[in-house]
Amino acid sequence: MDLLRRNNVKVLGRGTRPLVFAHGFGCDLNAWRDVIPSFEDDHRVVLFDHVGSGGSDLSAYVSGKYASYDGYVDDVLEVLDALDLTEVAFVGHSAAANMGLLAAIRQPERFSSLVLVAPSPCFIDDGDYRGGFTREDIEGLLEVLDSNFLGWSRAMAPTIMGNDDRPELGDTLSASFCRTDPDIAREFARVVFLSDHRADVPRCRTRSLVLQTQQDMIAPVEVGHFMHRHLPDSELVLMTATGHCPHMSAPSETSEAIRRFLDR
């Protein structure tokens, strides 16, 4: 199987230092659009979609394999291997932050550093730990996913995004949104929001940067502190950006933070 096709891998940039960007739940590689230009001059920039998202090969989605992060981590390592990348700087947003963490535990020699954007090892409140959500909340999310991807809205897909006047938008976030397979979305949501990888955090020895925004309604600031406390070799940057997607809402602050970390 063609891994690069399976994961819709794109390689850009004029440099040699490998810098890999991995998107989170609900997005695709287009999410990095405004961040990558500042790295193209001196990096080999690798972008890809997780199987089941964006421009990946949906037929490669096998429910059993992707019922936990393991299947996604396998893919990440396979892609890095196929491109023969070592000394990788891996930037992962949200769900992909966990993938980077787990991949670096499995093959520490392959990674030079991790940038974890709005990470959370566990979204469910548990005793003193504040993940931000309860299991019922996640059930609510699954219902909303169904309403949007199975229900009426689905039938309206072409008009949903309001870009019916821009048919050339073939490879965009909204195109991904329209393509979303409801079953895959559900299963991915379960993986992301119901798994608990807190115990894995201290096992990652790779040098890491935690990027935490203000008022992230998905991964609260306590979680950013938790990550920083438990990652053996980590820095925490509290950004002025708000929301869960600083790479989109504040691309220059994000890329500057990454660059400062990588260049050190």
């Binding site: 959500f133 996913l145 309403s147 949007n148 309001g162 909204s174 008022q215 929301g243 989109m248």
Partner: protein, 540 residues
């Protein structure tokens, strides 16, 4: 400006605040800058003031908040609009308001994102329908799956049935062929057996010729047995089915089996006590069991455990056997031999199918056992796998009546009966000559006829003591001939000679009959039986 009715025109504020949709104006990060009364009302608030400065995410349910952050916020950063998104708002009292939401981007100078106009309609009804629709679709999917499963099962069943039917047809035509061939052989054997019989009794043979004749007689006897096995397979054997105590039969067979399989085979016989009798021909069953035991021995290269077990089961307990409902006696012959691969297993009961070396097996053992079981209203089942040994089960219907004790074999030397005049009718000259010789040898005077018509001509004269006729003849058959003869001589005793022993009693009437081939002793006994069974006098 008011029109003539005096009602003032709607103000823009009025249109905004009282529209049937909720309006919000949002900063780029989702901060609520402005909103209308309709939305405040839906959320259970007197007006919007409480919400100003808070974020859109804060009036969403947690699940919708995640969806907004992961799926909507990224798109809103880059797209001019987002429409028809299902999101749930959270009312002040914590309850949920299902909404249908749209955003329209507001650009600042230079195209920078300033914020969004946000519009929401109450989608309570729509969402309820949608839930029903989804549930309905789920149900439809489940029934479609169930249907597909059912179809697959049906197809498999039809396939199995078709295969069975093909096999059945094959056996049927093989049976017809075999039956026909066996019948012809019987006809040929009859004079051979008869001639040898006479030679042995009458001719003064020197030792060497006597040995030759004895050899020929033995070969003829083996041929007769072979033919009878063929007929069993063809289900044309005349079965003397009657209630039989199988436990007794099996116990009585023990010695014979032990001798047949040899000392290295460890034979165990077990019978459940108190079983009802089965309805079967005991001699045929003994032969079949013996055959199964010999197969078992061969499968174990002459050494190993062999068991014969007897119990009773209901028809449903043996689903593959297609038995009529009811209770069946089950005889299981189990060996620990090499077993059979599926392709052998599927053909094992076919006549002439054998894996044994040429001359070592006829391939009739299992087919004969199956023929017997089937003809008796039962079935044969084989359970075998390579290396797992083989169990052959013979299922026989339970008999209603109590079993008769096994018959004592008739004494061998015929008591010479009184000499009689016999009219012998057979269209086959060879057979006729042989039988005539045997009758004459028994001391009877024999007149011969080659057809029913010729016989009737002779019967126009004086009546013989006995009419002996072949059953199957062109023109007038044996039974019709007897009927016609009895119009002339009502009390004329008659004996039917039959090749097709399967013919039902109804076809033969209750006439005494003798199955081909037969020995002189059997002929002598049949003649006496026939004469003794003369129908009661009707008019003299």
């Amino acid at each position: 400006m008011p029109d003539r009715s005096g009602i003032p025109e709607e103000t823009a504020d009025e249109l905004y605040d009282d529209a049937p949709v909720g309006y919000l104006t949002l900063a780029a990060d989702g901060t609520i800058l402005r909103g209308n009364r309709t939305l405040a009302g839906w959320l259970g608030l007197p007006d919007m003031t409480e919400l100003l400065g808070r974020k859109l995410q804060q009036i969403l349910t947690p699940g919708s908040r995640i969806f907004y952050e992961t799926h909507c916020a990224p798109i809103l950063r880059v797209e001019p609009a987002l429409r028809q998104i299902a999101l749930d708002l959270r009312r002040r009292d914590g309850s949920r308001l299902p909404g249908l939401v749209e955003w329209r981007r507001i650009d600042g100078p230079g195209g920078a994102l300033l914020g969004h106009r946000f519009m929401v309609v109450d989608a309570t009804d729509r969402r309820a329908y949608e839930r029903e629709l989804l549930a309905e679709r789920e149900r439809a999917r489940a029934s479609a799956e169930a249907l597909a499963r059912l179809n697959a099962e049906l197809e498999a069943r039809v396939e199995a049935r078709t295969a069975e039917l093909v096999q059945l047809r094959k056996m049927e035509s093989l049976g017809q062929l075999t039956g026909g061939v066996a019948h012809d052989f019987n006809n040929l054997l009859t004079p051979i057996v008869a001639c040898l019989d006479i030679l042995q009794r009458r001719a003064a043979l020197d030792a060497r010729n006597a040995a030759l004749v004895a050899g020929a007689a033995e070969a003829a006897e083996r041929a007769r047995l072979l033919v009878s096995r063929l007929l069993t397979f063809a289900r044309r054997q005349h079965l003397e089915a009657r209630p039989v105590d199988l436990a007794g039969l099996v116990a009585g067979l023990g010695d014979l089996v032990a001798r047949a399989v040899g000392p290295m085979v460890d034979l165990a016989i077990e019978a459940e006590p108190g079983l009802p009798p089965a309805r079967v021909d005991p001699n045929q069953l003994e032969m079949a069991l013996l055959n199964l035991c010999v197969n078992a021995r061969d499968a174990m290269s002459g050494a190993g455990p062999l068991s014969i077990r007897l119990d009773a089961v209901e028809a449903e307990a043996v689903p593959g056997a297609h038995l009529a409902p009811g209770r069946y006696l089950r005889l299981r012959v189990r060996d620990a031999g090499i077993g059979m691969a599926p392709e052998i297993l599927s053909r094992a009961a076919e006549p002439f199918f054998t894996t044994k070396a040429p001359g070592r097996g006829t391939g009739l053992g299992l087919s004969m056992a199956e023929g017997l079981a089937r003809q008796s209203g039962g079935a044969l089942a084989i359970d075998s796998a390579p290396g797992q040994g083989t169990t052959v089960s013979v299922l026989l219907p339970e008999a209603e009546a109590a079993p008769a004790p096994l018959p004592v074999p008739p004494p061998e030397p015929p008591r010479p009966g009184p000499a009689r005049t016999v009219l012998l009718v057979d269209d086959d000259a060879l057979v006729r000559a042989g039988v005539a010789d045997m009758l004459r040898d028994l001391g009877h005077a024999v007149a011969e006829a080659a057809s029913g018509a010729a016989a009737l001509d002779l019967l126009d004269g004086a009546a013989p003591d006995l009419l002996v006729t072949d059953f199957a003849m062109p023109g007038l058959d044996g039974r019709a001939l007897v009927a016609a003869a009895r119009q002339r001589h009502p009390r004329l005793p008659a004996l039917l000679i039959t090749g097709f022993a399967h013919l039902a009693a109804s076809e033969l009437g209750d006439l005494p009959r003798l199955a081909k081939p037969f020995s002189q002793v059997q002929l002598a006994q049949a003649v006496e039986r026939a004469v003794a069974s003369v129908p009661a006098a009707a008019d003299d």
